[in-house]
């Protein structure tokens, strides 16, 4: 279960050590407030939003660390995804919860692989995805991925044709239970195998995927121009 590592990146020993120090009464009140806010929020909650609601001078970082530790062994865990916090059920309890939930829509193999390439190689262009898979990407595949909200248009590569670059979203992290993009399973092995350089354009040799909203050096903003990527041009005009 190497994939689940990030869910348990708190070690039981760390938790014990942290809780042994024990939060003081003021700290405990901040914890209660954070707990209530994150619980009540329909979406993962950013620290900025919490700070806006907390009394001034509240030590948010420490409160969240304590809270996370306290929920470590419970049926519900406090996790940070991207830069936002949420409560969710513990991964090992899926069996009791799955029964009435329906399976999320299954992705086609093409979509799954494309998603993986976007995740591991981001920022990545359509041509680069096609190079890895050895086939053209259908418009439908990219549409499905964009529709899931897991993939987004990042910008354009500063290269001939200024192709659009793709990357993943916070919703992607949230859905796959990742705190950050570097928690992708097997990322180190893939990097170590050196499989990501090869025929990729210059400047793309850095295999560390990045989903930073900040554009990379060889990226530029999307701009107002139409997305004349081949699958965008097929759209019916109204």
């Amino acid at each position: 279960m190497a994939e689940q590592e990030s869910l348990f990146d708190l070690k039981a020993a760390d938790v014990a050590a942290l809780l042994a120090r024990g939060p003081g009464p003021a700290q405990r009140e901040v914890m209660r407030l954070c707990e209530a806010m994150i619980f009540a929020s329909a979406e993962p909650l950013s620290e900025e939003e919490m700070l806006k609601r907390l009394p001034e001078g509240a030590e948010l970082g420490a409160a969240l660390a304590y809270l996370k530790a306290e929920y470590f062994a419970r049926g519900v865990n406090l996790v940070k995804v991207g830069k936002k916090w949420l409560f969710r059920t513990a991964p090992d309890l899926a069996f009791v919860l799955q029964r009435e939930q329906q399976e999320p829509k299954k992705l086609s193999r093409a979509a799954m692989e494309t998603l993986a390439i976007v995740a591991y190689h981001q920022p990545v262009t359509r041509a680069e995805i096609e190079d890895i898979r050895g086939v053209a990407i259908s418009k439908g595949t990219m549409d499905v991925l964009l529709e899931t909200g897991w993939v987004r248009l990042r910008g354009r590569r500063r290269a001939p044709g200024r192709p659009v670059t793709y990357g993943t979203t916070d919703a992607f992290l949230l859905h796959f239970g990742l705190e950050q993009i570097s928690d992708l399973p097997g990322l180190d092995e893939l990097k170590g195998a050196g499989l990501f350089d090869g025929r990729l354009p210059k400047g793309f040799g850095v295999p560390q995927p990045r989903d930073d909203s900040a554009l990379m050096e060889d990226e530029e903003p999307l701009g107002d121009e139409p997305l004349n990527e081949s699958f965008a041009s097929d759209l019916p005009e109204d």
């Binding site: 949420l86 409560f87 998603l115 898979r133 086939v135 399973p185 090869g198």
Partner: protein
Amino acid sequence: MERDHDAPPEEATPVLEPADAAFEAEGGKRDDEADFRVDVDGYEGPLDLLLELARRQKVDLSRISVLALAEQYLEFIEAARRVRLELAADYLVMAAWLAYLKSRLLLPAPPKAQEPDPKDLAANLARRLRRLQAIRVAAERLMNRPRLGRDLFARGAPEGLDIVSAPIFRASLFDLLSAYARQRQKQALSHVSLKHRQVWSLAEAREALERILGMAVEWTALDDYLIDWAVTPAQARTARASTFSASLEMVKEGLIDLRQDRAFAPLMLRRRRALAAE
């Protein structure tokens, strides 16, 4: 390039003849794997097909025999053609390239300066296969992670966090003063220009006359009535004029008598006797 199969499986793909998509290929007989089948539908392009063929070598992908792989691929394509399976151009391009590679690998030609080393080409192909394989594994691991909404669940009934907007008003003293001056000035000027004459209309005058007729049995000065009805001097003029006109009208209708003893003497007014008798 061939489009991949993202559409639902039932959708026909251009790659294969419909009915006999899967069958035992004659060419496969020579292969170690006797159940080698020609089914292009299952593959997502030539690279995928190559990867599958490579897997049959049952060796580590890094120690794959590219030569053997090229031969298997060409056999597969040959078998597919024999059953008139329509192959997408990608597959044929790859076949041509592999045929070239095979010949280069088998017959080391005197090296020409421009042509790449066949070993590099082979290594490059092997690496592309490894990369595709790696991303397949990664996709698999990604999909097998505990997923929100399938294995992990967020709170079922969040109360929600609200943001209530509280207006904060801004205005400067200058805004206040100029607003004051603006409207006072406007009103001050408009009062002057709008001071129109007040007019006692004919209808009003007649109505007033009719209401007081009952009292005017004897001769009465018209001015006396007016004093009761028009208080301000400004109104007196318009009231006198209108009432005079109204009274003339009523004389004409035979309702009242009107007389004036001499020029500029008060106008005297009285109800007609006939009416008074009734």
